[in-house]
């Protein structure tokens, strides 16, 4: 996790809020550093994490996690982390008997239906079991990323339904958190991506939007991060606060600074 980002979000692993849907989105840049942040953040916060990793291999996330101070392999062995490795299991699905339900069952179907099997996987992974051992703090679902589902043929309403059910179960019932990454293609023609992004934005409590600089690539400033707080859980807190910072990604951390205040410029 990046301590500077924690400061901006005013949160610590010990005092993380529960019952929230956090939306990560990126436009014209790679927002996966936010996924690595939240993965290591929630593992350090002693939460049970279900990680639906559709984009990279497990070893990739493990390597980045080690730079940030968590070992995914250890967490998985301890039972703290459940990973659905999309790249591997998408191939497995064609070599299994068809009767067994698979989280990525929609890949086998001609008309990609709904994501109920994927939801069932998440539910089984995060269901709180009281068997006397040290309980984890709260369940957390992390998805990298939802736009991949769109390109695999799932409709945007089906993805929204999946997130709806995860929100109802993980956030509301089990007081956990859901974090998901979506790409904003910026393409006015891509209606499905827009419906997905806007639909998720309406459901989210916190939106972190990483944007590339409008002026293009820069060596010292990799992009801009917009933070938008929506739907506060208590009616008395001020609604809809928004902050904007610029950032630079380094080997083991990300540094944030106010717009125009990059150390390289000053």
């Amino acid at each position: 996790m990046f301590p500077e980002l924690n400061n901006l979000l005013n949160t610590t692993p010990e005092g993380a809020e529960q019952g929230k849907l956090t939306l990560l989105c990126d436009a014209k840049t790679d927002g996966s550093f936010l996924v690595h942040h939240f993965l290591s953040f929630y593992l350090k916060a002693n939460c049970k994490v279900c990680f639906v990793a559709l984009v990279q291999s497990f070893s990739h996330y493990n390597m980045v996690g080690q730079k940030l101070g968590v070992s995914l392999t250890t967490a998985r062995e301890r039972g703290q982390l459940v990973v659905l490795e999309g790249l591997k299991s998408a191939v497995d699905i064609f070599f299994r008997p068809q009767e067994e339900p698979h989280p990525l069952q929609f890949l086998r179907e001609a008309n990609a239906g709904d994501l109920q099997p994927l939801y069932a996987f998440v539910r089984d992974a995060l269901e709180p079991v009281d068997c006397g051992e040290a309980a984890w703090r709260c369940p957390v679902l992390l998805v990298d990323d939802l736009s991949v589902l769109l390109s695999l043929g799932v409709g945007p309403v089906a993805v929204l339904d999946f997130v709806h059910y995860c929100r109802a179960t993980v956030c509301r019932e089990w007081k956990g958190n859901v974090v998901a990454l979506v790409h904003d293609s910026g393409d006015a023609e891509d209606e499905e991506s827009d419906v997905l992004l806007n639909g998720l934005s309406h459901q989210s409590h916190l939106i972190l939007r990483a944007e590339g600089l409008a002026t293009g690539f820069c060596k010292d400033v990799h992009g801009q991060l917009r933070i938008l707080w929506r739907r506060p859980l208590q009616p008395t807190t001020p609604r809809d606060r928004s902050l904007t910072y610029q950032y630079k990604i380094q080997d083991k951390s990300v540094s944030f600074f106010a717009k125009g205040m990059s150390p390289a410029v000053l």
Binding site: D114, Q116, Y119, A120, V157, L160, D161, H164, Y165, A168, R172, E191, D194, V195, N198, G199, S201, H202, Q203, R230, R231, P235, T236, D240
Partner: protein, 316 residues
């Protein structure tokens, strides 16, 4: 409510916006966006209806019952019936927690429940219903729900049903938006500027022209509404009285002015296609020594008078 009517009502103006939204009956469409959310206005309208003694039925698809009831005190919560389509709308849970029949039946069931007395139905949200039901069926059900088949004169005031629908504008194309808009008696579009929310309200009163009104407002934590004054734009340009007008003809690299002699010469010039009396005389009476007509030809620089070699490319 025209501004003058509001002024005459005096203190009644503070409640005017919610009351006038609820007064027409039928379908009230609340169009919101990610930046300017509409659920708090929906809850303010629900609270207002409940305080007037009506029963309010909420079809909740997007938020849980606890979250919707949050902020309401017990007197309002007692009048609020929450039909839960949030927990298990598509019957994915193993022990079925879903409402029987799915979303469509839940929507139709509301019609039967509000049989007697004035009632308000809040749909949170129409966007969710539009994603899961075909648009024509949703429109027909809404039409039946808001009892628009009967003429306004036939409906007793006690039987009026009000349907409040929350719609997220960015999620739908112009077709469904237009269809729902044409069903609505009142349409509220939420937007704002500089942190201040505004509502553009379109009233479609029967047998009258549609009226458009803009109100700036804010919703307090207890879901009562407070009207605000339109925020002054800080970056307004200064008025013309204070800025001196700039003469654009100064500091030019070319000459725009004419001297007296140049002006006289210009004025005395006859234009070639202007038919003056001198020209008429010259044409009617050919001058002396001009028995035959003459052609005056001035060759251009690139004109070649050699007929043998018109392209001038023979190497001779």
């Amino acid at each position: 409510v025209t501004p003058s009517e509001g002024v005459r009502r005096g203190t009644g103006r503070i409640l005017g916006m919610l009351e006038s939204l609820l007064a027409l009956g039928g379908l009230v469409l609340l169009r919101d966006s990610v930046e300017w959310e509409g659920r708090s206005l929906l809850k303010a309208l629900v609270k207002k209806s409940a305080l007037c003694g009506e029963q309010v039925h909420v079809l909740g698809c997007e938020v849980s019952e606890e979250e919707f009831r949050e902020g309401f005190d017990s007197s309002i919560n007692n009048r609020l019936v929450y039909h839960d389509l949030f927990r298990d709308p598509l019957s994915w849970s193993k022990p079925g927690k879903a409402l029987p029949g799915g979303p469509l039946e839940a929507l139709r069931a509301l019609d039967k429940r509000t049989g007697s007395g004035p009632a308000t139905i809040a749909l949170d949200s129409l966007s969710w219903l539009l994603h899961h039901l075909p648009c024509p069926i949703l429109c027909q059900t809404l039409h039946a729900l808001s009892r628009q088949d009967s003429c306004p004169g036939d409906t007793l005031p006690g039987e009026q049903v009000r349907v409040l629908g929350l719609l997220h504008e960015e999620l739908h194309g112009p077709g469904p938006l237009g269809a729902l808009s044409s069903l609505a008696q009142t349409e509220v579009t939420l937007s704002g500027t500089m942190g201040q929310a505004s509502a553009h309200i379109l009233y479609r009163r029967p047998r009258q022209r549609p009226t458009l009104q803009t109100q700036w407002f804010s919703i307090l934590p207890d879901f009562s509404l407070e009207l605000q004054v339109e925020p002054l734009l800080e970056s307004q340009p200064p008025s013309d009285l204070h800025t001196p007008s700039v003469d654009p003809t100064t500091h030019l690299t070319f000459n725009l002015h004419l001297s007296k002699k140049e002006r006289e010469a210009k004025d005395s010039l006859t234009l070639p296609f202007q038919f003056s009396s001198e020209k008429q005389q010259a044409l009617l009476r050919p001058g002396l020594g001009q028995a035959t007509s003459h052609i005056f030809y001035e060759p251009d620089a690139y004109d070649d008078l050699d007929q043998e070699d018109p392209d001038d490319d023979l190497d001779v």
